[in-house]
């Protein structure tokens, strides 16, 4: 163990006895003035410790989770987690510390701890981090919402889940699981540059799945629901036809057991937006993250084939392909007023792929100048009060075809193909070339018409080959906003919510494999 003038906060100082524990003050009890005061304490302590930049995030997360299996309530849980993190830049080296104890004394201690970490890490700083200037904001942003899920009575939410499973069981499912998760995220951000920003947003995350079992053969099949998580109120839950889908899912799961196995070959694929949002996430969202291109994720999430020399040049996909990034789409899980670097996100929409050409990365603070650009485009996110903000995805969406085109139009242009709905399994390599995706249900397409259900389908391709094979795209009337509540990245691992808008699209001659390996059954 080495010594350091600032190492006054040893880990053992955080071993609490009950007397200290009782002094914990929750961040939720602080009013704005209290938050502003703690921010000032952090800024002054950071400045006194020699930091050239500091920011302070005080956050509160309210959550609810309900899960019903068949007609049995499996989980009914509420949660409240509050705390803060201080991040300092000390002579070009980052350090941060976090704590759930939102007191003046603890903010000072955590700030010194962050400085201690940064100072100790300086010997490893062969290149210093430099932050660009960003405008200073004093603002409050609240996600618009019709019905606050936390104000809906608990028994109503449980009854809704019971009704969903009841519909599935009545329609022939042997097992049914339905859950709702709700999160309210409240963040207060302050930076040494002077910004003071408050934000609140809400996420609703429904999940359903039905399973049917054929005991005689020992086979079973499941069908997961298509309802996407959203940055919305409870009105989204009320507006979605969960009951109708549950019955349909049970019927389709039964059909799966008798479906014809696919013959492995190259097929034309028509991908429903309930499926395509995930290939967009994996094969466009992640490869165009600048931290990956800079090698900062090399040890975990990976790097990317989209290197900076390809900016403005790479033919990512066919001319029909337009990928847009935003943090303002209604219902988007990444929709927010300001990112976690304090960069204004509203109105910072940008293209990632324009007419098939790669034109822009997603960036957080301190990255843009490394590729000759001016500033961040507002893509920083920290998944908790205790996490370091890193570059995460905005809403990354496939723009609809400006010309009229329906799902039927796409299918009618296929002689021999497969129509895929929903997400099954998914996997992509660490530079985002080679991928394999499965769905929930697969239908054969023959001579422009949908046929019977297929099973054991997965397709493999590589990113640019796949997107360059796209020759059909649905119009705005076919748009669907999918998304994931838990995109993983970073070390320590962080989980980010992100939405992806998509329309149905047609891809030519994609390799399809049969996953029902006889040698395994």
């Amino acid at each position: 163990m080495g010594g350091c003038a600032c190492a006054t906060v040893l880990p053992s100082a955080l071993f609490l006895d009950a007397r200290h524990a009782a002094a914990i003050e929750a961040a939720e009890q602080l009013d704005l003035n209290g938050r502003l005061h703690l921010a000032d304490v952090a800024m002054e302590t950071a400045k006194g410790g020699g930091a050239s930049y500091a920011d302070f995030r005080l956050c509160r997360y309210q959550s609810e989770y309900f899960e019903v299996k068949e007609q049995r309530l499996e989980a009914s849980a509420t949660g409240l987690s509050a705390g803060f993190a201080v991040r300092v830049l000390l002579d070009g080296t980052w350090g941060y510390a976090s704590s759930p104890l939102a007191t003046e004394e603890e903010v000072k201690r955590a700030t010194l701890r962050a400085i201690d970490v940064a100072r100790a890490s300086q010997r490893l700083q062969t290149r210093k981090f430099v932050l660009e200037d960003v405008p200073v904001y004093h603002d409050r942003w609240d996600m618009p919402m019709e019905s606050d899920p936390f104000l809906v009575p608990v028994d109503q939410k449980i009854a809704k889940l019971m009704a969903i499973n009841d519909a599935a069981l009545k329609a022939g499912a042997n097992y049914a699981t339905a859950s709702f998760a709700f999160v309210r995220e409240e963040k207060f951000f302050a930076s040494s540059r002077g910004s003071r920003i408050e934000q609140t947003r809400v996420r609703v995350m429904p999940e359903t799945e039905v399973t049917v079992v054929d005991q005689a053969t020992g086979h079973f099949a499941s069908r997961a629901g298509f309802a996407a998580p959203r940055g919305s109120g409870y009105d989204y839950i009320l507006g979605y036809d969960f009951i109708g889908e549950a019955a349909k899912a049970a019927e389709q799961a039964r059909e799966k057991l008798k479906a014809r196995p696919v013959v492995a070959d190259d097929y034309d694929l028509v991908l429903d937006p309930t499926h395509l949002w995930l290939p967009i996430h994996e094969s466009v969202g992640h490869p165009t993250e600048l931290d990956r291109a800079l090698g900062w994720e090399a040890n975990y999430a990976g790097t990317t084939f989209v290197t900076p020399d390809k900016l403005g040049k790479l033919k990512y996909g066919s001319p029909l392909m337009n990928i847009v990034a935003d943090r303002s789409q209604v219902g988007g899980l990444s929709t927010v007023g300001y990112d976690d670097d304090g960069v204004r996100a509203v109105g910072s929409e940008f293209s990632i792929v324009k007419d098939g050409i790669f034109v822009n990365y997603q960036m957080a603070i301190g990255q843009a100048q490394l590729i000759g650009q001016k500033s961040s485009n507002g893509c920083a996110f920290a998944d908790s009060w205790s996490s370091f903000p890193i570059q995460r995805m905005p809403n990354v969406s496939l723009a609809p075809n400006p010309k009229k085109c329906s799902l039927d139009d796409l299918i009618s242009g296929v002689k021999r193909g497969i129509y895929i709905m929903g997400n099954g399994s998914w996997s992509i390599d660490q530079q985002r070339h080679n991928f394999q995706f499965g769905g929930q249900v697969y239908y054969e397409i023959r001579n422009g018409k949908l046929g019977g259900m297929l099973r054991d389908v997965a397709y493999q391709s590589s990113t640019t080959e796949f997107w360059n094979s796209m020759d059909g795209l649905g119009d705005a009337s076919t748009y669907f906003l999918g998304g994931a509540p838990n995109c993983g990245k970073g070390q320590p691992g962080q989980s980010a919510p992100v939405s992806h808008g998509a329309v149905p699209a047609r891809f030519r001659k994609v390799a399809v494999l049969n996953t029902g390996r006889k040698d395994l059954s």
């Binding site: 759930p100 062969t126 028994d155 390599d429 080679n434 320590p492």
Partner: protein
């Protein structure tokens, strides 16, 4: 943020005293971590996060509700109890409700090392400095993550159970890439004791693999004899035993261990005779938590013995219903190894591949536990008993159930880290496996 056992017990008692429910459980956990993250031979995001969580589950008859939070003040605890009780009162009766357990007998936790708890930020930086120096000297790019953590958890019930566990753990993973982008190597492990970390040696392994893996050749996909290094084995074994070994779903007909016509395959020879996998919280290689699901004591549990499926995880309700003993979730996993060194495995391989680790594994078919994923950070061709050249990465489509039936030789068991089975401490051997299905080639490095 770490509570002492006395402090955790005092809070548990306060909550039980505040409770108006018929019964309740109290779970408290906290952590105090330090980490250095590095990439491109420099520190990137370095931190010292700390946190705490308390969860109260209240029961009125067969109605249950829970509330979690991190406010330890008296008002905070009272609010937590009230929130859990309000939720419970609104819940329908759960026919599968099991009352909280009373006092249990626990072992002593051995997963703790003072050197890990007390390490300073300087000590972390000092451990990483030689890794970066080696990479710089060879004009390579190192990226990695070193995290040291102290954590505690306690579980208490209104029926008088209280158990406390404090552990330390360490994770170090390092990737080294060549500047031309064609070579990449990796090393990684978890440990309990920071004093046992040799980060420089791990860096040397990653550097060696990065250099040797440069300019790989493409081989056609197909079935290959493979030598799976411990991280790759850990992923497959961790996903199978940690995630799929479930008695209830097997009995219900929706699991790989389901028997045709009903029931499970427990007691049958499902894997190769050379496969034995168990959990033991006192395993010196991978010590783990002394308690598991519902506060049940974590005990030595044999999951697979010489190929026979011996146990599946089984919750208390299902155990009662099916007249079995409950089998709590594993807190660690160990696969019994053999005596064949990796060098000897290479020597006995006429044609095959040596695989460093896997990436992005997902289940394709739960019926067969067919998994897909990719190789990463070093694949090497073996011809006539020698490594001859680096090979491009592959996507695999293979089931660990099948893989555990095709093992030809096992190396000694070592503690390792599987990126895709993160969370469960694992000790596994290197395996020589026949007919592993590699289904396509990846251009990624």
């Amino acid at each position: 943020m770490i509570l002492t056992e006395a402090a955790a017990q005092e809070i548990t008692k306060k909550i039980v005293a505040l409770s108006k429910a018929d019964s309740c459980t109290v779970t408290i956990s906290g952590y105090d971590n330090r980490h250095i993250r590095y990439a491109q031979n420099m520190a990137t995001t370095n931190g010292a996060p700390a946190g705490i969580d308390i969860n109260v589950e209240s029961h009125f008859g067969k109605r249950s509700g829970s509330a979690g939070g991190n406010d330890l003040s008296d008002e905070g605890l009272a609010a937590l109890v009230a929130a859990s009780e309000n939720t419970a009162k609104l819940a329908p009766e759960n026919p599968e409700f099991m009352p909280p357990l009373g006092p249990q007998k626990y072992g002593t936790c051995t997963a703790f090392a003072a050197a890990t708890r007390e390490a300073s930020s300087e000590a972390l930086a000092a451990a990483i400095a030689p890794v970066l120096k080696q990479a710089e000297e060879k004009k390579l790019q190192a990226a990695g993550f070193l995290e040291l953590g102290t954590s505690f958890s306690s579980f208490g019930t209104s029926a008088g159970l209280f158990v406390y566990d404090q552990e330390t753990d360490l994770l170090h993973t390092v990737s080294v890439r060549t500047p031309d982008g064609t070579g990449s190597g990796w090393a990684g492990t978890t440990l309990t004791d920071f004093g046992k970390l040799d980060a420089a040696a791990m860096g040397a392994v990653a550097i060696d693999k990065a250099i040797r893996s440069q300019k790989p050749v493409k081989l056609p996909p197909g079935k290959y004899t493979v030598i799976l290094e411990p991280s790759a084995v850990a992923d497959l074994v961790g996903i199978l035993v940690g995630g799929e070994f479930d008695q209830r779903s097997a009995d219900e007909g929706r699991n790989f261990a389901t028997k045709k016509g009903g029931g499970s395959r427990v007691g049958e020879t499902v894997f190769g005779k050379n496969v034995t996998i168990y959990s033991d919280p006192n395993d010196p290689l991978v010590p783990g938590s002394i308690y598991s699901t519902d506060g049940l004591p974590a005990q030595r549990t044999v999951w697979i013995e010489e190929g026979v499926l011996k146990n599946l995880q089984c919750g208390r309700f299902w155990a009662q219903k099916s007249k079995r003993q409950p089998v709590p979730s594993p807190t660690t996993l160990t696969m019994t190894g053999g005596t064949t060194s990796t060098a000897d495995m290479i020597k006995q391989t006429k044609r095959g591949l040596l695989i460093t680790r896997f990436w992005y594994i997902r289940e394709v078919d739960p019926q067969t536990v067919l998994l897909t994923g990719l190789t990463r950070d070093g694949v090497f061709l073996i011809e006539h008993g020698e490594i001859t050249k680096p090979v491009c990465n592959f996507r695999f489509n293979e089931s660990p159930v099948a893989m555990l039936n095709k093992i030809v030789a096992l190396g000694p068991t070592v503690r390792t880290y599987g990126e895709e089975s993160a969370g469960l401490p694992l000790a596994v051997p290197t395996l020589l496996v026949n007919d592993f299905t590699l289904s396509s080639v990846s251009d990624s490095v």
